[in-house]
């Protein structure tokens, strides 16, 4: 049977996975393309640049294809893959050893600073720009806790730090984001 492109695109995740398991690279490509944006949406929040994010995405795809045999087909593929993506991003962070525990003084949170108002829709580039200015450990802690919903205990285990450090990192990340938002986004909008 010859699969046309249209038919291939209509295949379910399970069908694609079975195709991948039978060693067909065409199915791998389709699965890759289907979840690429999703994968980037996660990884871009954990890395400084989109190029770094793509590196993590590709590493995650390699891991995913390698462990596809162990995937439980009764569970949603997306959440399983999301976990691989997050774990790979953390592994990448660990490898690079960029535990920036110090902060640049000009972006240190000011406890007396006024809380900014979000009066406009932020686009992806704005957020990526804000995240890229955060130290790695703060950015990762913020994403794991606020976006992925991990507890501080889980984050501590994942990053090999104390639970209290995770809490402190989150507080700092939020303060820094407020500060960065005030300095960058609000100023830019006034300038515009």
């Amino acid at each position: 049977m010859v699969w046309t492109n249209r038919k291939l695109n209509d295949l379910t995740d399970i069908q694609l996975i079975e195709g991948c398991l039978s060693g067909k690279s065409r199915f791998q490509e389709l699965l890759y393309r289907r979840y690429f944006s999703f994968a980037m949406s996660i990884c871009v929040r954990y890395t400084k640049t989109p190029d770094d994010a793509m590196e993590v995405v590709n590493d995650s795809y390699l891991k995913m294809f390698d462990s596809l045999k162990s995937f439980d087909k009764s569970k949603p593929f997306k959440s399983w893959f999301a976990r691989i993506l997050v774990n790979t991003a953390i592994d990448n962070f660990r490898k690079s050893k960029k535990f920036n525990s110090h902060f640049a003084m000009d972006v240190m949170p000011d406890s007396d600073s006024q809380e900014p108002e979000i009066d406009q829709e932020l686009n992806a580039e704005d957020i990526i720009s804000l995240f890229s200015q955060l130290p790695d450990n703060l950015r990762i802690t913020f994403n794991l806790h606020e976006i992925e919903g991990y507890s501080h205990q889980e984050i501590a285990n994942m990053l090999g730090i104390e639970t209290s450090s995770s809490r402190a990192n989150l507080t700092r990340a939020k303060s820094m984001l407020r500060n960065l938002y005030s300095k960058n986004v609000t100023t830019e909008s006034y300038n515009e």
């Binding site: 980037m40 932020l122 686009n123 507890s151």
Partner: protein, 421 residues
């Protein structure tokens, strides 16, 4: 939580839910393909060198063991004994000459392969006959070790026996000389023929054994309901007659079904719509396949008729080939809800079941010397060239084990079959 944080988090979630990176997908796929082909090349290479290394290792080990066995049983014994016999012979000849006895050139140059029906003890006994006439030109069945080849035996016995024969033939009437010969000949023959005296050296060699172990595990405070199994190969090298060193390599498989026992496996319930969760119950199970590299010292505490009792002390390094942790967590979420009917604030509890799945790949974690091994066993012969040992053991954790840092200990029985006794 303040309004900025809430709004910002919400915006991040919304923005990235619809994030579109399709403009990068082609470049991404291309990079991925390159990465994949590089990886598959390295995967192909690893088994090749791994196989080559294994074969080389096996050949080296086999060669070494063969050399040790051959080296220990033949060469040193013969060389040493021949040297001893030569020196004894020279001594005895000198002694005979000193006594003024002339040994004819003929007798000196007599072919070495000449025997008589006289045992060493008979030589020592005083005899009335002056000359023993019966000389038999073929090797007799003396007490020479049957493992020697006929040629070696001939040369060996000839050198050993000739002086005794000459002396006995020439001066059997001399009691003094007989006594001398008796004294000197006996140890020579005993030393040369009584091979067991040298056996201790010969037996100090390397034994190879295959083992099968059944064991139970104690994880944190609970004992596993299902047993684990390990199979392995061990080499045992004697250091002294009482102490041996026994390194090995075993593959162990463990499957446990356990309750909520360890804080390391306790799952922290995530928040549900801002309400903090609490884990009320949890089931855990995990499967582990590990490569165990034990190194133990074996002390023989009692030995009798090839049977022995021993104790063994050592340590094991665990290399994990697969770790798969699964669990089901039951979380409760309680929030305060205002009841319009009763006009009271009431607790509203929701229960959610969450499945957990955590896998760690091969070689993801190694516990160096993570277990202390203590065992005692009984070794007994099985057939002529093999033996077996039954060895109850315990393995006490020295450090936290596995990727999830669990305190795990093991206890069971190991049966080992020694291939070359």
């Amino acid at each position: 939580m303040n309004s900025f944080d809430e709004k910002f988090t919400k915006q991040v979630k919304e923005t990235f839910e619809n994030y579109n990176a399709s403009h990068m997908v082609d470049a991404g796929w291309e990079t991925f393909r390159q990465k994949q082909s590089k990886k598959s090349k390295s995967i192909l290479l690893i088994p090749l060198w791994a196989k080559a290394a294994t074969i080389t290792l096996l050949i080296s080990l086999g060669g070494y063991l063969t050399f040790r066995i051959v080296d220990n049983t033949e060469v040193p014994v013969l060389t040493e004994e021949i040297k001893k016999v030569e020196s004894k012979k020279a001594e005895q000849q000198k002694h005979v000459e000193d006594k003024g006895v002339t040994i004819s050139e003929e007798s000196k140059s007599k072919p070495n392969v000449a025997y008589r029906k006289v045992t060493p003890t008979q030589v020592a006994e005083p005899k009335e006959e002056a000359v023993i006439t019966e000389i038999i030109p073929q090797p007799t069945k003396t007490a020479v070790d049957s493992s020697f080849s006929s040629e070696t035996e001939a040369a060996y016995i000839a050198q050993t026996k000739t002086p005794a024969l000459e002396e006995a033939t020439i001066e059997t009437d001399s009691t003094i000389l007989e006594n001398e010969v008796s004294k000197k000949d006996k140890p020579v023959v005993a030393e040369t023929l009584n091979i067991p005296e040298e056996d201790e050296k010969v037996k100090r060699k390397t034994l190879v054994s295959a083992g099968l172990s059944g064991m139970m595990a104690k994880v944190e405070t609970m004992v596993s309901a299902s047993p684990g199994v390990a199979i392995g190969l061990y080499a045992e090298r004697e250091l002294t007659s009482k102490i041996s060193i026994r390194p090995g390599l075993a593959i162990a498989k463990q499957a446990f079904n356990l309750g909520n026992f360890s804080e390391n496996l306790t799952y922290d319930a995530p928040d549900l719509n801002g309400v903090e969760g609490e884990v009320v119950d949890m089931d855990n199970s995990f499967d582990i396949i590990a490569m165990e590299i034990p190194i133990n010292l074996v002390f023989n505490v009692f030995e009798r008729k090839e049977r022995s009792l021993f104790i063994s002390l050592g340590t094991s390094t665990m290399v994990y080939l697969s770790q798969h942790y699964t669990g089901t967590a039951y979380n409760s979420y309680t929030n305060n809800v205002y009841n319009n009917e009763t006009e009271l604030w009431e607790d509203n509890t929701t229960y959610i079941q969450t499945s957990l799945d955590e896998r760690f790949g091969a070689f993801s974690h190694t516990d160096f010397f993570g277990l202390a091994n203590i065992s005692a066993g009984y070794n007994f012969p099985v057939g002529k060239k093999s033996s077996m040992s039954i060895e109850p053991f315990v393995q006490i954790p020295v450090s936290k084990l596995t990727s999830t840092n669990l305190t795990m200990g093991f206890g069971g029985v190991s049966v080992k079959y020694f291939l070359n006794k």
